[in-house]
Every structure is written in C-alpha cells, then in structure tokens.
Symmetry: C2
Subunit: 259 residues, 2 copies
Amino acid sequence: MKVGAITSRDNPLLVRLRKLNRDPNGYRKHGEVLIEGEHLCQAFAAAGTPRHALVSSEAWDEPVLRELASRAAAVAVVPAALLAEVSALESAPPLAFVIDWPGRGSLQPGRASIVLDRVQDPGNVGSILRSAAAFGFHQVVALAGSAALWSPKVVRAAMGAHVGLALVEVAAGESLAALDALEVPAIATSSHADAAIDTAELPSPCAWIVGHEGQGVAPELLARSRAVRIPQPGGQESLNVAVAAALCMYESTRRRSAS
Amino acid sequence: MKVGAITSRDNPLLVRLRKLNRDPNGYRKHGEVLIEGEHLCQAFAAAGTPRHALVSSEAWDEPVLRELASRAAAVAVVPAALLAEVSALESAPPLAFVIDWPGRGSLQPGRASIVLDRVQDPGNVGSILRSAAAFGFHQVVALAGSAALWSPKVVRAAMGAHVGLALVEVAAGESLAALDALEVPAIATSSHADAAIDTAELPSPCAWIVGHEGQGVAPELLARSRAVRIPQPGGQESLNVAVAAALCMYESTRRRSAS
C-alpha cells in the first residue's frame, strides 16, 4: 500500500472520478466503481483489494477508517471539499474506495436467478439485490433498460449485497437468448394468471422475472414463462416491484424448506 | 363547481400551497393536502369531493383532465409556471387537487393493522401503504418519528393507497397506549427470534410492527410483542423494511386463505 496526498482538483484520479459521478452508466466506460461510506467499504474490502482508497484529511486520524483504508492498494488523503466533488451523495462520507468494475458478468446456467426486465428505479433494483442475497438467489440478471447495476444509487441502495452475488448485465437485443441460457424454468407474476403463487407448483431452481414499474414484464418474455398471481385480497392494488420480487423469492425459499 | 383563473403568484391559495410544499409536516398545520397528477387525482376523486382543482392553462383544453378537474368544488386555471412553484415534483403535472387532511385518525380496535415505528424513508412508507391495501391490512398506524403519512413524497409513493386505508398518526409519547388500544396481538420481526415466520403460529387479526431502517423496532415495543424471524438462507442480510413489512402481511394472508 502506498499513501499519498492529493491537494489539487486537477489530479487525474479526481478528474476521472468526477466524470464517473456524472453518469450512472459511466462505470462501463471507465471500468471503475466508486464505493462510498464505511459500511459499504467494509463489505467490499472483504471481497478483494480495492484499487484506491480516498480518505478525507480529517478522517485519516481515525484508527478505524485508517485501518479500513489501508486495505486498498493505494491510499489518497484528500481535502474534504475535493472529496465532496466526486461524491454521489449530498453529504460525502470521509472514506471511499475505487474498485475495478467486474464487467458485465457471464450467465451461469442452472442457478436460482432473478431477472430484471427494465426495472427503472435504482432504489428498487438495490432493494431487489438485498432480497436476492438474503434468499439465496445468487444470480441477478439485468436485461437492457434496467437501472445500471453498478451505478452509485444502486450500489448505495443494495447496502453491500453486490458482494457475493453473481451479477450479469445483458446487452440490448439479447434478452431472449439470456433467458434460454439460464436453463431453468422462468416464472413471472401476472394479475391475470390463474395459478396463485402460494399454491401453484414452483420449480426449483427457477428464474423469477420482474418487470418495468409501469408496464410490467415484456410480452415476449411472458410468452416464455409460467405465470402466477400474488393473491391480493384487499383489492387489485399493484405491489411495488421490489416487494413483488421479494415475495417471489421468499415463496421459493419457503417451499424448499417445507419440502 | 366554480371555475376561476389565477394569474398572480400572490394569490392566497398559491401562497398557502407554496408554504405547504416546503414542509413535509405542513399539512397538519394547514389542514390541506396537495395531490398531484392524473393517476392520483383519479384515485382521490373517487373518495370524495376535492376542495380545489388546479389545472394548467394548457391542460384545461384536454377533455379528460377537464372532466377530472370538474369533480372539485372549485377549479383554478393556473399558468404552468405558477403551478410548478407549488409542486413537490421536479416536473409538475398539469393537474392537482387540494383535499382536506382527514386528521390524525382514531384507532379502531380489533382490526388487522400494520404499525410503523419511526420508519424514516417516505418511499418505504408509501410502499408499505400499497402493500397494506393489497393484503387487506386496512389500518396503518404511524408512531411518532415515522415519515409523515400525508407528506407529498409518501402520497406519491403510495400511488393512491391512502384512499380506502384507515390511517392513524400517533402523537409523541403515546406509542405504548396505541399498541394497547389496538386490542390485537402485536408481532415484530427479529433476526434473533426462535420462531420462523413461515411455520410459527400467527394470530389473526394481528398488528405487525416494523421499525426504523437502522435501529429496527424499539425495545419497549418489542417487549410487548411476539417475535418471529424471516428465514434468510442466503446469509444474515437484512431486508429493506418495506420488503419485510410486505412479507409479514403476505404470510398472514396466506395462512388465512390456507386455513
């Protein structure tokens, strides 16, 4: 580990991170992801050696943050004002890591998966990653048009769930091929389905598909999937997509442990 | 219904709505709630006569919006720029209603309920209201310190679920009294509980208690509740609070329909 001080906002690392910060998809171009805050940095440090740690000049005196920062290959001590400029948060935390983006990922056939079909909201995507980690759906497949899995808002909302999940970003036009490559039955929720999720037979492993907040799952994907409905005795309210995704994974988990 | 044009930003209604917009708890002082956008206005128009409709000058020509606006006691046609100033949204929709705040509400004993103990995030609270409406938990009780139930962000995230739910806002210091007044068994989720939610006996009706995003349910409330854990075979990840709340209500619903 080498430690250096950055004092100029023209420093190449800061210039690059400011660009990264402006574009939710920027990590695909730059190959780097910014991880902010002690809790998230702790989670990612357990998974590999971060390329850089950025620490505010004040925080460098705190033993806990200093120890955590020291797990990176290089440490940059940066004035808080310059750190704030690269932060995606309103109030920049005193510690951030820069990690290598692991790439789009490759589908692993035969695994319990959750497939995101144009889920728009980063908070929803992050929440789904947390639920996937909790319920042991270790492969998350984002079809084109979904919120970018490694964008700052998704990373934030997932609270460390990225670590330990197999994350796959499918390129535009390859959704159907990806569904085939999973080699497990696909199931989608639909309010029109006859079968109810709590009593229908659920294959295991399976791939649950959840769709766009307004439009739901695309018809061409529905055509390749079994459909079940989530009984909603209170009326035909529609559930938030992150809630629906969690219910699907919970129900799969419950069945497995009951059988 | 009377129709008038507003052309000045000093109009008393607009002055009042700008104040309302600046304060998430403002509706308690002003006794009014702003409902924005066609979808939400449709939901609220079904529940009673709105006090005012505000329509942008351009939208007043659209038959659908004009018809919807006409359900209010009074219609104000307002230049889009002035409407934008009262909107809580980045891009103001062309139609908004002003409705009477129904007040803090009174607890109805013996009903299936969900209790929010300092749930902070308006998006989470809105999502919980949607799930409560879907699963037939018609009473939602917000203890002091939770995101304000009628704030613009919660109203937005709940997507119309406010209509048809019995919403109760409990004043500070009255949490334990409120729990007693429910007169149904209280259940909370805790990762330390022995009983698992999918196999434990669940009383019906019951009150599910969900807590603060970081701290969970307060100890004094836990002490009065049964506790169950949500099995998370993927590891000790913690679920988003809106997801956990939905799973609890789903499981109650599933048990009722299975028995």
